[in-house]
């Protein structure tokens, strides 16, 4: 192939421009996305959850989560002594330990409950995307961090796999990836929310029990919801600044 001087004059600056982008490293996936304009979180509406396990399956598909490990899972609670009279009065011993099951993380649903007594409810769990997360504080190499838009992420090329963060998380949301040997966890589908999509679990939830929320967006319905509902976070006494909000959470949930 022969290149004339004229072609060379055009090609060289083009190559120089292209080289700049090659050197720039990772491709910017969503150029219109500004991290400073978001503060991501999630709302779990317990009364809406039917325990179908769609979220668990969707998460494993979307994020290639290895078999037997979970970025999100669903637990079924049963408080057998819980009783509500016709006048709406509730009697239950607060010291009774509830029965909690989560067969294979609730991935294939739950066994049919035949015992009508007491109170059942499902609690979907995931990384609480804590604002003061203990897991990022213990990392010795700076491989896990809270992104400027509020997602707790793991830099898997930098992680050593020491598992300090796995021990530090009070919610048990982290694990060491069996193949990559580095820490892995829910990213709040960071690759989706930065493209304007919702998370895989929210997309797959048939009842709307999970909702992605952006606390920095003044139009987000979460602000109204937090004012009008009894909303809690898990383990508030740990002062982790957990941002996954649970509506109508039973006091027995740990």
């Amino acid at each position: 192939m022969k290149i004339t001087r004229r072609q060379m004059i055009v090609l060289l600056p083009a190559a120089a421009v292209a080289w700049k982008y090659v050197l720039a490293g990772t491709p910017e996936a969503s150029p219109n996305y500004k991290m400073t304009e978001h503060w991501w979180s999630m709302l779990i509406d317990i009364p809406k959850c039917i325990g179908c396990g769609n979220c668990v399956r969707a998460c494993q598909t979307e994020n290639d989560v290895p078999e037997g490990f979970f970025r999100t899972w669903v637990e079924r609670y049963h408080r057998s002594d819980w009783l509500m009279t016709e006048s709406g009065e509730v009697t239950a011993n607060p010291l009774t330990v509830p029965e909690v099951i989560s067969p294979d993380g609730g991935k294939e649903g739950f066994p049919v409950a035949t015992d009508e007594s007491g109170k059942y409810f499902f609690v979907p769990k995931l990384c609480n995307q804590c604002a003061d997360s203990p897991c990022t504080q213990v990392c010795p190499v700076g491989a896990t961090f809270i992104s400027p838009d509020g997602a707790v992420l793991v830099d898997q090329t930098y992680c050593l796999g020491c598992a300090y963060c796995v021990q530090a998380c009070p919610y048990g949301c982290r694990y060491i990836h069996p193949v990559k040997k580095v820490a892995d966890k829910c990213t709040l589908c960071y690759h989706r929310i930065t493209k304007g999509l919702t998370t895989a679990c929210c997309e797959a939830c048939p009842t709307g029990a999970r909702q992605l929320v952006d606390l920095k967006d003044p139009k987000d319905p979460i602000h109204e919801f937090l004012k009008t509902h009894s909303v809690q976070v898990l383990k508030p006494q740990m002062a982790t600044g957990a941002k996954v909000f649970y509506n109508d959470l039973d006091g027995s949930v740990r």
Partner: protein, 157 residues
Amino acid sequence: MSVFKDAPHLFRFAGVFVFAFLVFLVVRHYVVPKSFGQYGHYRGNAIGEIAAHPIKFAGHEACESCHTDVLDVKAKGKHANVNCEACHGALAKHADDPSSVTPVKPDTAVICARCHTTSAAKPKGFPQVVPEEHSTGLPCETCHKPHSPGMDAGGAK
């Protein structure tokens, strides 16, 4: 200059320290990633790398941009707020290339039961059946339209 009379060995020692510090700075320059510390005590480029992970679920907006006919049926029924991929599975590949990647039709005998099987644990208002008694193993679509399943609302076949 009697103060510095016996100092040369100290200067040599200080020189070693300065040299070691310079070596440290050079090594540090090559070892620490360029974007480390851009936003905090971590590699700033990691955020972009995590965001570049490919998506598997296309999102209901992508489905609805083509399948407007299904959207119209769904909007009137009980499944109006159920996203397409909740039942049909992750279909970003189909959304990217609709002609060559065609989704498999879900088996309604299996997929409906995942949500609608009777269990005391489910919220009382949620429609539930015992599949063995209700349909004796027949696919639900024999009687119900999956996109608008209510029998009273014209969902019956």
